[in-house]
Amino acid sequence: MLSRLKGNLVNLAAGIAVCTVFALGTGGAQADSNIAGKKVIFVPISAGITLTEAWSRRMKEHAAIYGYSFDIRDAAFNTGAMSELLAKAISEKPDVLVVHNPTVQLLARQIKEAEAQGIKVLQLNLQSNQPSSAFTGANWERIGREIAEDIVKECGAGTGKSGEVAIIPGQLTAADSVIMNQAAFKVFAAHPEIKVVSNQASDWEPEKARQITTTVLQQHPNLCAIFGHWDVHTMGAGKAVKDAHLEDKVIVYATGGGDDKTCQAVEDKILDRVWSYDADGQGRDAADLVDILLQGGAAADHSMLQIESPLKIIKLGPTYDKNLCFKL
């Protein structure tokens, strides 16, 4: 037993010595530009949708340039599986974790755990309540506010319209829906002529959005605007408006990654005004941030690095250009 204790002490001393050497060797603000061989894991809500595929494409390009590995763990819209996949990813001790949060609370604890273990976490487009090393994505407050202000301009006092608005979030607890609704309701509070007649979540599904819209249009035939929180499911709502032959009366607002299908929908008058955050550009921003994090970049006061995605407004008219949308 004594010999085992001695053996342990020797190991401990050796470990401390090795660690000291490393700490002294890499101390100071020296950026490490050789990041080949490092490990990055991306955990999106689901692979196989244009949004996440656009992000993955750019991040894979950067991984190929520098020679670090980039893995995607697909949760296929299953939030339970997502927690497990994230836990497994953390246990593999990657250098950077890229996380796409389905709600503000679900992965917050695990993100904290990862940061505590020295894994840098980049939150992509949908943030959680837990700050981490970096975030890049749309400024949901700005999108919610700008769309609400546009709705007030089109449907508010003096326009002669009914002022009735239907909001179709994806899920009421998803980060984007929470923040956009907060911002929009703040704007509407100052304009009492605007009435929100429906705020039903569609679970990101176009068919559910269509059914909700058909029902709401039935009860509120003078509906002025629909504000959908994702362009894909809002297309279902837009189709319902078109089927009711109200596409010239109801303005359909949406926000999304802005791929070529969105432009097609705008041309077909299924969507009227889309605030696009350009998923392709976001992919490039995320990839740049991953490179920076791998090279040791951090904010001077260790707060969260934030890069806001620029917005493009896609609508028919003089500002319309097919190139506003990207093709996957």
């Binding site: 196989g48 819209f77 705020n199 559910k208 269509r210 297309m235 279902g236 299908k261």
Partner: protein, 319 residues
Amino acid sequence: MLEYIVMGVTVALVLVFSTFVQGFATFGNLRVIASNSAALLILSCGMGVVILSRGLDLSMVAVMVAGAAAFATLSNAGYSGPAVVGLTLLVTAAIGLANGWLIAYVEIPAMLATLASAMVITGFFRFAVLQGEFLLLLPNTNPAVVFFSKDIAPGLTAPVALMIVIFVLTWVLLRYTTLGRITYAMGDNFQAARLIGLRVRTTTLMIYVYAALTALVAGLVIAASSGTVDFRTVTNGSLLFEVILVVVLGGIPLRGGRGGMRNILVGVALIAVLRNGMTLFDLSSQVQDLLKGVVLIIAVATDNYFNPRDTETDTVGDL
């Protein structure tokens, strides 16, 4: 009897909603309810036939989406209209046959066989046909979209017309054909049906093919109206739950052998009215699911009370 209770509840809900929700008791709202429930009724017809034979087809929603995906992919690839329809029918019938074969000849319990086939179908179509995508957006020029957007007669849209056709077809099938009689016999007492020489295995095959084909029709209706083929409908699970809920609530017990089209109509009426009213009340989807679950528990408990299992109707391995 459960179906009278459910009919009563539906009438009560209609009265409540008509009083408290403005815009509910209008002809326009009735049309909305009909068009929103078209796919549900079509699926319930297929599921009703299967449950009557004391089976269960958990792969219906997967077949629904896979069939629509096959249709969309083939039309996008440029095949002619009749070719697309023929190939899609063939693929769907083949899936139904596979299900039926597993249950009738390999003798795997229906619930397990169809659960497994649902996963295989979803995985295969997402992987091989959609190349990993979850969503397929249908262009406006797609023949299904064009057909389903038209009005067959003033006030009668194509989905509602199809719903009526499938409903009548299923009714005729169950009441006036040998297949229907054997289905009821199988549900009532499978071993006795087999022993007296009824062709239970062939009937099982045909029942699951019928279920698969009704699923295909429902899939085309949804795909055309929403403009997308969405595999998350399978993984979300709530549509399958609703279809079984409709059949059970309508009064067709899960052990089969009893009931008919009137039960399916009663079940769909309750769910459609409930869903429509809850949307007009602006209840969140979580609260809606909660209420539907509560309604199911009450229905099943009442069903158990009115249709207790006795030595005649209870058999080993029952669901």
